[in-house]
């Protein structure tokens, strides 16, 4: 799929694959989006649990957060049990929108 485009400017390093040093163009853009989504994924999933630990007043984890009610739930139950699933659906949605755009841009150039 990419061969025509690549063949015009191929050098020896053109086919190295490294998540931390992606090749310019499609791959670099896609890796950038992947980073953004990975950070949003980790921050909401694990960041919230760290926040619970930071705020806790008792070893069992009681804190301002757990005493707050939202939609009738203790905040931490609502966040981990309900909101995070919605958040994951949203992340996958965003990823698809990003990749759809990218593919459109880079396929046109061929």
């Amino acid at each position: 799929m990419a061969s025509e485009q690549d063949s015009t400017r191929r050098d020896d390093n053109d086919y190295r694959v490294n998540f931390f040093r992606p090749r310019p163009g499609f791959m670099r853009q896609k890796v950038r989006y992947t980073w953004i989504l990975l950070i949003l994924w980790a921050f909401f999933t694990f960041g919230f649990q760290f926040l619970l630990v930071l705020m806790q007043d008792t070893p069992a984890g009681d804190s301002l957060i757990t005493n707050t009610a939202i939609f009738g739930f203790p905040l931490h139950y609502w966040f981990s049990g309900q909101f995070l699933i919605i958040w994951f659906i949203l992340l996958c949605f965003l990823f698809n929108v990003f990749v759809d755009n990218l593919t459109k841009i880079y396929r046109k150039r061929n």
């Binding site: 053109d14 694959v17 499609f26 049990g81 699933i85 996958c92 990823f95 593919t103």
Partner: protein
């Protein structure tokens, strides 16, 4: 155990029969079905197929059981098993599809070009199958023992016999799995009885998933005073380690997205994952409600179980919640039939995967390369049977809950296959020596945690058997990187293929 229950038994037989019939009907129209499949079932239909492929006894019975015993800890399962799809989608799914290899041994062979690595990954696949199936068998045995009024062990034997009959019957009748139909059965048999339970106990019944906050607060304020604190039955480290393990384990089990790889259009496949998580979410939003309402019923009936009895009951708490709320037996029977459908479909899918790994990747590739297709099929059938019987031995006296046993399978996948996939896709320098060393390290870590954990407190604290991938997966990644750098790079044609085909626009 109480006696034989007629209505649930009839429902069970009816549901299994119906899914066989629908499977046969889907097959006879196969030609037509395939021609239009890309358009006709659509993204939502693929999503439903992904969800039905995923749902096992661990989702259907296990999560509610953990929630019943451990409260907030159960959300590590809910979050882990949904968040893993994000990881799979954004890091691996499209690239794996471009690679064109969808089972772990095939990918490993194509990427690393090594029969040894292929064989190791086939052994890992079989081990995952065995552990995963053990959890399903436990679920089947518990539900059978409830329906037929048997003790656990006879129910296990009966369940195994039925599983094998079902496998043979669907094989000889040529019934394919109609996954959309199956998802419909599963989700209805989970959600509808839940509404009845909520109504019976006077909670918001239209969407009990949104209304059980009230029930939680009632529990916290009751004389028993159930604690809602996040770390009341597990430390933050345990929560995070478990959640992370389940996520990387999901990403390391590529078969969970098998439908993703067979849809003609990649864009449709990507979008179907959004539906897939939503459909899985429907079940995961609801499972904690069962456990909460079961606790409420206990309070009302004034019959709180002692910890030991509660633990024995936890894995069928979904069924007990309905029974304790006083629902009619046929409604409770619907839940039990749904649980069996979930467990059966997972067991059959896994046994076929495991047997395939043996007959193709080990027998044909290593032992007898001259075997023809007929011989290979015979070996696969034999392997299915052997695996089905091996699992019985493991499931006779499992010390853990269904969700926990399943988590061990995820830890194994997260410690071995996940790093091999991740680096294989994202770092072209990864070679076969690194992959083999990494998988071996992952195996050692997983089984260290499993076997030495009970006797060595340090291992038990740092590497709980269900959650060993938080430390294990990064360590294995490190091993792969170091070993790969110390040994010659992989062949150029593989690296070029990776860059141009797999990561192209």
């Amino acid at each position: 155990m109480e006696g034989f229950k007629l209505a649930p038994a009839l429902l069970l037989v009816g549901t299994l029969g119906l899914s066989l019939l629908v499977g046969m009907a889907s097959r006879t129209r196969k030609g037509e079905y395939y021609l239009v499949s890309g358009r006709s079932i659509g993204r939502m239909g693929i999503g439903a197929a992904i969800a039905s492929n995923w749902m096992s006894a661990a989702s259907f019975l296990g999560i509610a059981g953990i929630f019943y015993l451990q409260g907030y800890m159960a959300f590590a399962y809910v979050v882990g098993w949904t968040g893993g799809y994000v990881l799979l989608l954004i890091l691996m799914a499209t690239q794996l599809r471009r690679f064109g290899k969808y089972t772990a041994p095939e990918f490993v062979d194509a990427r690393y070009d090594s029969p040894v690595a292929r064989c190791v990954s086939a052994v890992i696949t079989i081990l995952i199958t065995l552990i995963y199936c053990t959890a399903q068998y436990k679920g089947i045995a518990l539900v059978f023992s409830w329906i037929f009024g048997l003790d656990y062990t006879p129910a296990l034997f009966l369940g195994t016999a039925v599983v094998i009959c079902y496998l043979v019957l669907s094989g000889t009748l040529g019934a394919s799995r109609n996954q959309q139909f199956q998802y419909g059965i599963l989700i209805l048999s989970f959600l509808v009885p839940l509404m009845f339970i909520a109504k019976q106990l006077d909670y918001f019944w239209v969407f009990p998933q949104l209304g059980y906050g009230q029930a939680l607060r009632d529990l916290a304020n009751s004389p028993q005073g159930t604690s809602l604190a996040p770390w009341s039955s597990g430390t933050p480290y345990q929560w995070i380690a478990l959640c992370f393990t389940l996520m990387v384990g999901t990403a390391g089990l590529p078969h969970v997205l098998s439908r993703f790889y067979t849809v003609p259009n990649l864009r449709d496949a990507r979008w179907s994952v959004v539906w897939g998580i939503f459909f899985i979410g429907l079940l995961y939003w609801s499972a904690p409600v069962y456990a909460t309402l079961a606790r409420i019923s206990e309070e009302i009936n004034g019959a709180t179980l002692n910890p030991e009895a509660a633990r024995a009951m936890a894995d069928i708490i979904v069924i007990k919640a309905s029974e304790w709320a006083g629902l009619p037996s046929w409604l409770t029977g619907i839940i039990s039939a749904g649980a069996i459908v979930a467990a059966f479909s997972t067991v059959t899918g896994l046994l076929i995967t495991g047997a395939g790994a043996f007959s193709y990747d080990i027998y044909y590739r290593l032992i007898n390369p001259a075997a023809n297709a007929k011989k290979r099929i015979a070996v696969a059938k034999g392997a299915t049977l052997v695996l089905a019987l091996l699992v019985v031995a493991l499931a006779v006296n499992p010390p853990w809950l269904i969700a926990q046993i399943t988590a061990v399978a995820f830890a194994l996948a997260g410690n071995t296959l996940f790093p091999v996939f991740l680096l294989g896709i994202w770092w072209d320098r990864t070679n076969k020596y690194g992959a083999i060393a990494g998988m071996a390290t992952g195996l050692v870590i997983t089984f260290c945690a499993l076997l030495l954990g009970p006797s060595v407190p340090l291992i038990d604290t740092l590497l709980p058997a269900t959650s060993s991938a938080l430390l294990g997966a990064p360590l294995v990644i490190l091993v792969i990187i170091v070993v790969s750098l110390l040994t010659p790079p992989p062949p150029e044609h593989i690296r070029r293929f990776l860059a141009e085909e797999v990561h192209g626009p």
